[in-house]
Amino acid sequence: MNVLPEWMRSVRFRITILYSTVLFVLAAVLVAALYLALLSTLRHEPSFTRITDFAADINGDGESQPSERLLITDLRGFERAANENTVENMREYALGALGVLFLVSLGVGWVISGRVLSPIGRITDVADHIQATDLSRRIELQGPHDELKRLADTFDGMLARLDAAFQVQSRFIADASHELRNPLAVIRTNVDVVLSDPNATADDWRQTGFVIGRATDRMSRLVDDLFALARLESPNMRSDRLDLSALASEVAGDFDAVAGGKNVTITKDLGGSLPVAGDGDALKRALANLLDNASKFAPTGSPVRISAGQMDGWGWVALRDHGEGISAEDQTRIFDRFWRKDRSRSRSSGGSGLGLSIVRGIAESHSGSVRVSSQPGRGAVFVLWIPLIGEPAGEHPPDWMPGVSGDAPARQVPA
């Protein structure tokens, strides 16, 4: 097929040929039918009688004369010859007209199909010019609301969604690199300063070592968190049968063992088993992040309560702290990546700014959700909802916060 020139391989060419051929065949059929009809009409010779009558009338005596007969015979021959001539002329003209018609229809078909197909050309042009880095262009097809306009609008919608997704992604990469630059700058500057000091003492070097250690700790936490987020976006999350309540107990136990010196008391109220399907490591990470977050904002010595239960086919784990709480405005942003209320404060306590967005990502990858309820000065409650196995769960978890909306409502199944 590649031996054909490009214009002959186009849809436009095929439409033109098809259109012209169909038109030509229809016209040919029509001309042939007319020709045959004319032919059969002329062969009936109905006009002889009329001419005979006419000849008889001229004479006026009611009898036919031989000379008159001869005239009539001549007339017949003349008429036949004239008819044949007409039919022949008509056949020639018709064939010529058909040829002209075919050529004209090719031209007209080429122009019309070009006009009809031009939006496709425009769509192709725009698609050609769009680079992955610049998705801001749109087709913006004008004209009637037909199939092609709908196609172009669909493309535009898809481009808008891709554009938004890419922008989120590049914003995230910019944020991540920004977060990595700070500890890098700490390391670089400390090394530069101590290296350029000819009188640096062993103490100076030790001090620099400590600073670099702290900075690399922060970087590895950040890299861990970035990796956790990236893993959420990959399709190969495990789907094991797990007990959400047991996971919560395990996480609380680990936390007690590791952070006993943090001076928060963890109280557990976990109830019976809550069978869910999911990735155990991911769910434990979500719960650990929530617990870490709660203990970070809890005043020294205050209790952090971890509880679990089920409701309407959903299992929940709730963490309640008695910290300073979160304003309504901040509650909409705390799950955003790299959002921090007070950068230096979170930084000194070692947060990457990704903890809660990881929790949300894990919840969503398990068809669940995470919610917060808080009033400034009165602590906060975070709840992780995950659908239970084998229970008819609604599309969204119940609109209820454990330990916030007063006592558990009657429809809560005691766990």
């Binding site: 910019a174 700058a185 530069d192 300063v193 900075a215 930084r347």
Partner: protein
């Protein structure tokens, strides 16, 4: 020359301050925007190293307020601003410079580049283009940290060097003890000691050359002056 380092990353702020002090600058440190604002209103800084993402008041807002003149600085001075930030997109640089920064350096940076940029910014005040200041027989190389008189090397302490640097960037100007204390010493200096007088005295002694006049003269009741042709 006196510099304020505004940086919430404490490990970075302390390293920058340490390195700059070794270069002979008087350095104060702030860890948030509000604190920096307070310091700028009380002390006369020649330059502010300003981070952008700061708690309380961010660096760009602080730069705007410094430039708009609604902050009463001592002597009405407006310090040079060097923005030091991890935000490295061209639009961040444009925004920072438009908000009043004189220069912009992205983290992580090379410390020698930071000091070179600081020297370049401070030279703008003196209206000179090179790293070497010259005044009569005195020569001061800010990059190599060396001072000479009649081509003989002067062995100066960092404070004496900083003091001579300040004098040489303002030749023939009368500089009061208070101004010298403000620009050559940091906020830990006790304003009631004779530290300025003592340092000027030791510097003068080191500048002495037989048969040549003393370049730093006392203006009675006002302060000191470096004679440009000395």
């Amino acid at each position: 020359m006196r510099i304020l380092v505004v940086e919430d990353e404490r490990d970075l702020a302390s390293a920058v301050a340490k390195g700059l002090r070794r270069e002979g600058y008087a350095v104060d440190v702030s860890h948030d925007g509000d604190d920096a604002l307070g310091k700028v209103m009380v002390n006369s800084y020649d330059l502010v190293c300003l981070d952008v993402n700061l708690p309380k008041l961010n660096g760009r807002a602080l730069a705007r307020r410094l430039r708009s003149g609604d902050i009463a600085t001592p002597e009405g001075a407006s310090p040079r601003i060097l923005m030091l930030t991890a935000l490295d997109e061209p639009e961040d640089r444009v925004a920072g410079l438009d908000d009043g920064a004189d220069d912009y350096l992205a983290k992580p940076f090379d410390f020698s580049e930071l000091t070179a940029r600081i020297r370049a910014l401070l030279r703008r005040d003196a209206g000179r283009s090179g790293a070497v200041l010259q005044s009569g027989t005195l020569k001061l190389d800010t990059r190599r940290h060396s001072a000479t008189r009649c081509d003989a090397v002067l062995r100066l302490s960092p404070k004496e060097f900083a003091l001579l640097h300040y004098f040489m960037s303002r030749p023939d100007e009368v500089l009061s003890q208070e101004e010298l204390l403000e620009h050559v010493w940091d906020e830990h200096a006790d304003p009631f000691t004779k530290t300025v007088r003592v340092t000027v005295m030791t510097l003068r002694r080191k500048l002495e050359r037989d048969g040549l006049p003393q370049p730093i003269e006392t203006v009675v009741g006002s302060g000191y002056r470096l004679r440009g042709a000395a």
